[in-house]
Amino acid sequence: MKSEKMKSYLEPEFIIERDDEKCTRCKICIEQCTYGVHYYNSKNNIVRSRDENCVNCHRCVVFCPTKAITIRRNPTQYTENWHWTKEVITDIKKQAETGRAILTGMGCDKPYYTYWDKILLNASQVTNPSIDPLREPIEIRTYLGAKPDKLELEMKNNDIELKTKLTPQLCAETPILFAAISLGAVNFNVHLALARAAAECGTFMNCGEGGLDKRLYQYGDHIIVQVASGRFGVSPEYLNAGAAIEIKIGQGAKPGIGGHLPGEKVTQEIAQTRMIPVGTDALSPAPHHDIYSIEDLRQLIYALKEATDYTKPVAVKIAAVHNCAAIASGMVRAGADIIVLDGIRGATGAAPKVIRDNVGIPIELALASVDQRLRDEGIRNKASIIVSGGIRNSADIVKAIALGADAVYIGTAALVAIGCTLCQKCYTGKCPWGIATTDPRIAERLDPDVATKRLVNLLQAWSIEIKEMLGAMGINAIESLRGNREQLRGVGLTETELKILGIKMAGE
């Protein structure tokens, strides 16, 4: 084998264009780039670039004081071919040169339908009044957890009081929660910002499967702690530190395969929280080795409830797959208070590209079928539904709730808010924005105060927009929107699609 000497046939994906007139040779781009793209040639007093290293993260573009840098997709094309695209050809070459599976980050970027864009919202006209959210109260608070089958009331001190004992609930002031992003996939500064922003907005952040730094326990009332198959960082203290516990069975970016934190990111700090050797790949295999059935799932749900004295709701998260409606029914019957569905657009810090781009189903279809199934079986009240996987804006959220969700998780959108540009290279651990890195020298780029502010701003902006849309529909409480598919109409969808989504065609 002469593989060491093999010439690479790969071409740079991006081309850096530097306006030499604008460039002051300040070398900030060299400092900012963690992939070693820019370098200074002192002989000619010029800054040059190694295009092949560029991931198009825009760090240099944003930080260049004279805006001298433009990054373009390499315009050099293979002979145009709809079937054998540039991506396909590049992937084959990469694999022929390495013999390895291709790893990637973030969510599926393939052009499958985004059904949100084929669903339109209703508004009130003439016969039912719309509500002006600027002057009238609109309730977007949401309670997440199992609801009783019926309410029993009793008279006490001349007042009606609730006799039915409610199981624990999460009270979210806005139906937007931060999705599970593990410590290890991101660094402590990101976790801190998410926790603070969740606390400030009266909502929740999910700490992911890599444990929770003790410094964040003070935000515990706004944290959902996750338990995955690797059980990283899961101690009795951890289980009791959060407001709820989530069992992660699967995630939308990689249904059927487990967590994979590449060794590059397993620093001393991460190794300590996860209790694994430094530099090892932190593996969380797809199956929990004590769960092979709904009955086994029930066993873990109740083990967690026992360990926390039945004081916290237990959520179970699965990736949206073909038979997720039947599985969701089992999850509810197993005792899950909240079920979480993560669609094919759900992101990750690291997943085999082939899995990310080909496995799973769109969250819109999964949500509609799960909600319908639970209604048909008369158990929809027994669990709340949180959906995630590519929620991009407040309209996606309103459509999701009308389709049957109680709330949404946002992961990618939250990271974009604090600097992420979706370059998809999270697995390298070199994130130049200081997000998907555990290298302390890069992580310090992320100012937790600024990041908190940006996240709070995003939730605030979306909450206002949600109220605007509700008001336009003449609805003054998000409770009245949940599962209210009459407020939705489809455009450009087949009859089968409309049937699965449970919505009418626009004009009907």
Partner: protein
């Protein structure tokens, strides 16, 4: 050898579900559901030194999430997830245990005067589990360890397949005391996915995962092993020297990063 707990104590049991006597609580678990039993255990775990539970018939989660130094004596057959997430107590099981003993256990001790089922010590983070006889599949799967936190599992008999799977830390000891003369351990895929920790096996291992290398014991290993075996022998009445005189092998991961070269 059971230190005679069972018979001696059963004489003094009366039929009421809970008897409080000095610093010992006695619970009759007959017909008691697990939630009632565990809430009793929880409510007494910080106020008494010892809890004796008898007529245990498969109640799950005994000791789950308990965080105190109480001693619990379980007579009968505890159900799955005994000592799950436990942090501190010592549980003696006078009988066999089922699946999931010490699931994600953080600290404390479990001593089983019998055998245990599958996934013993799943993702165990600290504390010790001593099992007199055999165990089922996947004992020690995902066991962890870091710095001073070093969980220990000792299996007196033999284990089934996937022993120490995905092991990332801690010490797993299999003594083979239930094997007949000349009989070997039958477990296959021992240490599959292992990337940390140590497995010591007394006797011949049939088959190991590709992530594992088999080594001879050195002085350091004996220094680590001796007190562990002695503690085991204290509970079950075996002779530590006799056990240590047997032939041991050490199983360790080939690499801390077994799958690093599969991805680009």
């Amino acid at each position: 050898m059971d230190k005679g707990f069972l018979h001696e104590e059963q004489k003094s049991f009366d039929l009421s579900p809970v008897t409080l006597n000095d610093e010992v609580v006695t619970i009759n678990a007959a017909d008691m559901d697990y939630r009632t039993l565990n809430s009793l255990l929880k409510s007494y775990s910080n106020s008494v030194k010892r809890i004796v539970v008898y007529n245990v018939h498969g109640q799950r989660y005994i000791g789950a999430g308990l965080r105190s130094n109480v001693e619990i004596n379980v007579h009968g057959t505890p159900g799955n997830d005994l000592a799950a997430f436990m942090d501190g107590p010592t549980i003696y099981v006078h009988g066999n245990a089922q699946d999931g003993v010490g699931n994600t256990m953080n600290g404390g001790k479990v001593v089983i005067y019998g055998r245990a089922g599958d996934v013993v010590g799943y993702a165990m983070r600290g504390g010790k589990i001593f099992i007199r006889d055999d165990v089922g599949y996947r004992a020690g799967v995902h066991m962890k360890g870091y710095g001073d936190k070093r969980p220990i599992i000792v299996i007196g008999g033999t284990a089934q397949d996937f022993l120490g799977e995905y092991m990332a830390g801690g010490v797993l000891v299999v003594l083979g005391l239930t094997l007949k003369n000349g009989e070997n351990h039958k477990a296959k895929f021992v240490g599959t996915g292992m990337h940390g920790g140590i497995i010591y096996v007394r006797g011949q291992v049939a088959h190991v995962g590709k992530e594992v290398k088999i080594m001879e014991l050195e002085e350091d290993d004996m220094a680590l092993l001796r007190p562990i075996i002695e503690e085991f022998c204290n509970f079950f009445g075996f002779d530590a020297n006799e056990i240590l005189a047997g032939e041991f092998k050490k199983l360790v991961p080939v690499s801390t990063r077994p799958y690093g070269k599969l991805y680009v």
